[in-house]
Amino acid sequence: MLKVDLAVIGGGPAGLAAALEARKNGIENILIIEREKELGGILQQCIHNGFGLHYFGEELTGPEYAERFVEQVKKEGIAYKTSTMVLDIRPDRTITAVNSTDGLIKISAACIILAMGCRERTRGTLNIPGDRPAGIFTAGTAQRFVNMEGYMPGKKVVILGSGDIGLIMARRLTLEGAEVKMVCELLPYSGGLTRNIVQCLEDYNIPLRLSHTVVKIHGKDRLKGVTVAKVDSNRQPIKGTEEYVECDTLLLSVGLIPENELSRGAGIQIDPVTSGPVVDERMATSVEGIFACGNVVHVHDLVDNVTMESITAGRNAAKYILSCKDTRSVGRSIKTVPGHGVRYIVPQRISDLENIEELKLFFRTNDVYRNALVVVHFGQKTLYSAKRQKLAPGEMETVKLKSEALAELVCDTSCDELKVDIEL
């Protein structure tokens, strides 16, 4: 059995940043395990720019962002195994992995950081009636085809879902000569970043049909067209609004789901809203010595936030390894509670109150709000209140609590709930 101090599962930006930070904090024996043939994660296929302005202070493409971290990992001499798939993680932190050179590998780790990222939702989870022809892809799969393997999924394209991947692909396919007929979005607002709507759709006059969905798929062997329809406020198609759109390709950009089969196997508590592990402010999960960061915890829209969160995980994993103090026995803990207008908050709990130096709450709203107040309540007290021009479910929000607010958390032992509300 291979013995390591820290095993990092997944070599995307989350895993790389976490491993580097653990090394910086004195951990020597680290192993990163990645199932793809190279490190870098999903960033390798995101060839567009827009990464890193907040962390590096310059605008990078996905591969450039990844390369910076990969280079550092190599320079630090941190060990990694690529083309290696982790199959199982036990609560006692033994890991089973497999690759074609070593066969089955058993690893015993003093500490584990989960950084498996997320995967795309597929058509199966949506159940669109109609035929089952070729020509239906998830947007991320199409992105991989076009950007890494160099072939086009089709010529006339309809995109369902206005998440960022769908928007990015609308522009990419247009530039490569396809005709993108429209992007349909079930909701009355887009789930993507505003700048992607401007840069990817408006620049190329691609219509964005809000409150529209695909109700039928046509074609036997290859897709021939789709029927789209307007939906009402209950997201039900409105009779009489159906429209046939000829196309040979349908891209689905209908959301991402954190990849947590391994976490469940390890007995880690999962938040039903985020579909990721419940974590505290140190990114510690409910199982001793297992931390998590990046898209495996909740879907991020900005890789910079992934990096920051992973640095937190790496630092605390190092602390755990060096102190051997159970991550769970930390005395009193406080729950974060999504209040009015808030869909979820990460971290879900705050547990190491003795050692807390700063606290950032990441959250998403459940609707679009304009000129609203973000308020953090702790019992009767208000710890934070600030106005935001616009809040949207597609854009993750951050609240940073100041040290006076943190002092309240520590001192007022009568309360154990921290609530975030959107007030109009």
Binding site: E38, I47, L53, E59, E64, G150, L175, Q199
Partner: protein, 122 residues
């Protein structure tokens, strides 16, 4: 003066900017969270520019395609023409991130550069 609302696309924050403009003359700009927003708003109203990212074929490398970008933003109107020129380019491995792939694309004075390294297959 006419007021235009545009969305800053310089970074993912996507600030909404209020621009007072009359023909090509830019007046007051507000709503920006940093100074780059001001520069962008003035430019977007007079001479819009965009970064272009795409791929070129690479032979003998660990991947068949190399991601590239314009080193700086280029005039929006020249995007299609640049795509045409880039399409005809082929390079061979090894390539290093930052290598110049096409010099002075379409006379813009901007180079196309590699955005990742691609080592040789063996």
């Amino acid at each position: 003066m006419e007021e235009r609302i545009i969305t800053c696309i310089v970074c993912p924050m996507g600030c909404r900017l209020n621009v007072e403009a009359e023909n090509d003359k830019i007046g007051n700009i507000s709503g920006n969270r940093c100074s780059r927003g001001k520069t962008y708003a003035a430019e977007e109203c007079t001479a819009p520019k965009r970064m272009l990212t795409t791929t070129v074929r690479v032979s003998g490398g660990i991947h068949p395609f190399l991601p590239v970008k314009t080193e700086r933003a280029i005039p929006k109107g020249l995007i299609r023409q640049c795509m045409e020129e880039i399409r005809s380019v082929q390079v061979s491995a090894p390539v290093k991130a930052g290598d110049i792939i096409v010099k002075n694309i379409c006379g813009t004075g901007v180079d196309i550069i590699a955005t990742r390294s691609i080592p040789c297959q063996n």
